[in-house]
């Protein structure tokens, strides 16, 4: 986990004394999340086997996402979207984690991420979970904020849907 002092690198150390309550926010806006938000990985639409467009109607976050498979391997996940830092960073982390994985491994990562996001802040990621989720464990803090869980899950649900379409199976709704 990034150090709790990581947020000071965002230039608000002087404000910290004044807004003590904000320290808690650090658990949501982890440095690694803000990094992915500012420098998203794999962004842009490239060739794919299936394309989906998902929206979060309560807040207007949107993502268009394409998947490409080679044999049983996730060859590419490309995306364009607009939304909050959480939704955009989550798509970037997804790209990092899933591209190059075997489908079964990718699905396991998706399910583990879903489990973490639905934990309402009650789940402390252990070493095994960190091994599976890598950067995505940084989203653990988001699970404490019910209004933001959908933001974090937007791209992951889109990926699941696109994968079902690309592989010719029904979306698992």
């Amino acid at each position: 986990m990034p150090s709790p002092t990581g947020w000071c690198t965002y230039g608000i150390s002087s404000a910290r004394r004044r807004w003590d309550g904000l320290v808690k926010l650090d658990s949501m806006y982890q440095e690694v999340i803000l990094d992915h938000y500012k420098n998203p990985h794999g962004r842009g639409l490239r060739e794919g086997d299936a394309e989906v467009h998902h929206v979060n109607p309560t807040c207007g976050d949107e993502i268009t996402l394409r998947v490409r498979y080679e044999g049983g391997t996730v060859a590419d996940v490309s995306y364009e979207g607009q939304g909050c830092s959480i939704s955009q960073a989550s798509a970037s982390v997804l790209n990092d984690l899933l591209v190059g994985k075997e489908l079964a491994d990718a699905q396991q990562i998706q399910e583990t991420f879903l489990e973490l996001m639905q934990s309402k802040g009650q789940l402390e990621p252990d070493d095994a979970m960190e091994d599976v989720l890598e950067d995505a464990v940084a989203f653990a803090g988001v699970s404490k904020y019910p209004a933001r869980v959908k933001c974090a899950l937007l791209s992951w649900m889109a990926w699941k849907d696109a994968t079902a379409q690309a592989l010719g199976t029904e979306p698992a709704e």
């Binding site: 947020w7 965002y10 230039g11 608000i12 404000a15 807004w19 003590d20 309550g21 904000l22 808690k24 926010l25 949501m28 806006y29 803000l34 309560t58 807040c59 207007g60 976050d61 949107e62 607009q82 939304g83 909050c84 830092s85 959480i86 955009q88 904020y145 933001r148 933001c151």
Partner: protein, 418 residues
Amino acid sequence: MTQIPGLLDTEAIRKDFPILGRTVHDGDGLVYLDNAATSQKPRQVLDALHEYYERHNANVHRGVHVLAEEATALYEGARDKVAAFVNAPCRDEVVFTKNASESLNLVANMLGWADEPYRVEAGTEIVITEMEHHSNIVPWQLLAQRTGAELKWFGLTDDGRLDLSAVEEVITERTKVVSFTLVSNIMGTFNPIEAIVRRAQEVGALVVVDASQAAPHMPLDVQALQADFVAFTGHKMCGPTGIGVLWGRQELLDDLPPFLGGGEMIETVTMHSSTYAPAPHKFEAGTPPIAEAVGLGAAVDYLSSIGMDRVQEHEHALTEYAVARLKEIPELRIIGPTTAEERGATISFTLGDIHPHDVGQVLDEQGIAVRVGHHCARPVCLRYGIPATTRASFYLYSTPAEVDALADGLVHVRNFFG
């Protein structure tokens, strides 16, 4: 403490609202700036609800026992209060619904079922505006889809006002109904309605006014509006949730068919057919929201005791101050009118390219409650090329100190994501 002429004695008013005294998170005072979504409730309204259930609860308009009579008197008394509040010529013109959405859906459905000359059907037109809340868009889309009528609308100018440059082309001889908001729920814009009403009357179209964001904040006079229907909701004007109002001209309420059928709305029923009670009961099928109506009556009393002209004056003064403070913040762009003129105390804005969700989250951590998103007015966001806004909305208990907290909070948001 900032001294601004025109403000109400908020120190006294805030004592009436218990929730404003609570803290959030780790002891931050609550700065509640989400009044366009729902207002807080004064002690007087909470007491009225409590008193109703503790002492008078019964079903209305049936039964001859004491409680039934008291409950009926309270429910109908609330109708009298609301009628006076909006200067209705007749108390029977006030129909209780569950919210403004239901009021607007009720009108749309009545017009779909109506006989000539009101009937909306293929070959006729419905006119709305691009500034509407979804509740004044979707019912009309549904009506258009079901009947084959054409849905048209007034667009917006770059500064957040209705584009009325082509009134005569938008409202035509084929137009059956024109429905629009008096005050924008996302930009706060006051709409000049005279030109629309005049043109609608010229072509014989009915005029429906969504006053959801007006009734809580300014004197509302349905006769002066010259509208045919006016819809608003109780919970944005210090009342409880679950109670809305549809005011309609008596002649129309008499002529138009009921929408929901059931108890209370009938005169006689046989297995073959029924005749209907006169308005407003014709439109209030089933057990109504009795306690909620009583609560709304108490809210109307509360607002009237302060004076709606004073509420409007307070909010105008606060809006002037808020607009000035917000303009000091780099990269803040107000969506809608950028001065306090002809606008209410609801201000939407963007802050650089920081997503409103992130703005709202960091404000919340400082105890400041705002709304983020498209505010059920997504076409407005599309019109201005933005996915969402942050919206701060003030009310009679809002203070300059809360404006300052917002401005300071936004500076902090910029630093956080800077």
